[in-house]
């Protein structure tokens, strides 16, 4: 392994990436969880809910990736 002084300047980037992962994870979890609840309540609307879920998940993913790239 390399010395710690090589890794030190990378720490803000690593922590930032971790924060993005946490945020995106919470967001995706909420979207997925709510979609599951909605499908359980109204199984006949599963198709529509799935489409909406994927669109919102994709938008969230776009944000997360933009943040990762800029970071």
């Amino acid at each position: 392994m390399q010395g710690t002084e090589d890794i030190a300047p990378l720490i803000p980037t690593i922590v930032g990436a971790g924060l993005i992962a946490i945020g995106a994870g919470i967001g995706l979890g909420m979207i997925g969880g709510k979609a599951m609840e909605a499908i359980a309540r109204q199984p006949e609307a599963a198709g529509k809910i799935q489409t909406a879920m994927i669109i919102i998940a994709a938008l969230l993913e776009g944000f997360a990736f933009a943040a990762l790239l800029l970071g």
């Binding site: 489409t51 993913e61 990736f65 990762l68």
Partner: protein, 402 residues
């Protein structure tokens, strides 16, 4: 059916033979020797005493090189030993006139090529003009000051894009021909027909509308299959990385942007420049926000596709590279490193399977969001009356309470 397999096998063999012959032409080495060298490297036997064995940097370099565009179609390489199994691709330079030659003259950046009295060097996958046959750019200079001629070469990504186009042309040409004879396709057409119908019924119709979807279905189908097949090719040992290249995704998103902008109706522009139903002060505030919104939509499209595919490739190579790094950098025992290798190999297989899903999902999402944006631009709506009605309601409510 059997002849189709034979044809595929023949082309694969011909490609490998061509690549191999090319490697031997220039470097006069056998493929088996090359494999031997790769194993040696894992053992650390290739390095002299005192040399730091830093395979982590090598893995990083390899990944960075893979993500870039290239003037060669490389199957195997071992740059330190000047060993390459690759197909040279045509180079097209605009430098006071078009200059066309094959990239084999560069010898993978090891030699300076003389073309019509000009000298060019391939330096970190980019072509620079140099002054003479011995005027090498130092390897550690990553952004040299030399003149960079305008490069419109048929690079690896261009070849991949053409290959994807050819695949789409062949499979859909065959499918279209079948519909002249029979109503139900056979063979591979049975895989394609449900996908086409899926794009039409689940993506185009609900998001653009029953009356208008026909104008855009060609674009949506093309984009869907182009991205999907390009993503799948990225998972083959060809080592292509088409949709993980930001220029390609910019091009695709630009198409969506242009189609959205030029097929937009009056209502769309009205909602951008003079949002109905809000106070005029807010209308002025909304203009820059809405204009920015038209640009962020394709930006989100291109970043998502690029980042997803890049991330997938990096994760795969990192997992495979971790096997080497574990052996050389952590210097653990042989048994432990074999266990490490097997573990990471299985992990890499699982990631590849996830990437298969991602390949489809990204094509689906790109098409879906494109359809959504086009649908927004062509939607007919009577919001003004709506908005006014709501305003009136609010006023009524207010009067009642105040």
């Amino acid at each position: 059916m059997f002849t189709a397999y034979l044809k595929t096998a023949f082309f694969a063999l011909a490609f490998i033979a061509f690549a191999k012959a090319n490697a031997q032409d220039h470097h006069e080495r056998q493929l088996t020797e090359g494999e031997q060298i790769i194993f040696d490297e894992v053992d650390g036997g290739e390095y002299g005493e005192g040399d730091p064995v830093n395979t982590k940097t090598e893995v990083d370099n390899f990944i960075a090189h893979h993500l870039q565009d290239s003037h060669y179609l490389t199957l195997f390489e071992k740059a330190d030993d000047h060993f390459f199994v690759s197909v040279p691709l045509p180079v097209l330079l605009w430098d006071n006139g078009l200059r066309v030659f094959m990239s084999s003259v560069f010898h993978h950046g090891e030699e300076i090529a003389e073309i019509d009295g000009n000298y060019y060097q391939l330096h970190h996958s980019k072509i620079y003009k140099v002054n003479g046959p011995e005027d090498f750019i130092p390897a550690d200079v990553h952004h040299p000051e030399n003149v960079k001629p305008f490069d419109i070469s048929i690079t690896k990504n261009v070849v991949t894009a053409l290959l994807v186009g050819l695949i789409i042309f062949l499979i859909f040409g065959a499918l279209a021909k079948q519909y002249k004879k029979r109503s139900i396709p056979k063979g591979f057409g049975r895989v394609l027909e449900p996908l086409v119908i899926y794009v039409r019924d689940e993506i185009a119709k609900p998001n653009i509308g029953e009356q208008k979807y026909r104008r855009f279905i060609g674009f949506l189908l093309t984009v869907f299959f182009f991205i999907w097949i390009a993503n799948l090719l990225g998972l083959t040992p060809l080592g292509t990385n088409l949709t993980g290249n930001i220029a390609v995704t910019v091009g695709l998103a630009l198409l969506t942007y242009l189609i959205t902008t030029f097929s937009a109706n009056k209502d769309y522009w009205k909602h951008i420049f003079w949002m109905p139903g809000v106070h005029w002060v807010m209308k002025i505030f909304f203009i820059p926000i809405e204009l920015l919104g038209t640009l962020t939509k394709p930006f989100a499209l291109l970043v998502r596709l690029y980042a997803n595919i890049t991330a997938g490739h990096v994760v795969l190579f990192t997992l495979l590279g971790a096997i080497t790094v574990a052996k050389t950098d952590l210097s653990i025992g042989t048994g432990a490193s074999v266990g490490f290798g097997i573990f990471y190999f299985i992990l890499a297989i699982f990631i590849t399977l996830i990437e298969l899903l991602v390949a489809f999902l990204q094509a689906y999402i790109f098409t879906l969001l494109s359809a959504l944006f086009i649908g927004m631009a062509v939607a007919e709506h009577d919001h003004p009356e709506h908005a006014h009605a709501e305003e009136d309601d609010i006023d009524e409510v207010r009067e009642r309470f105040v």
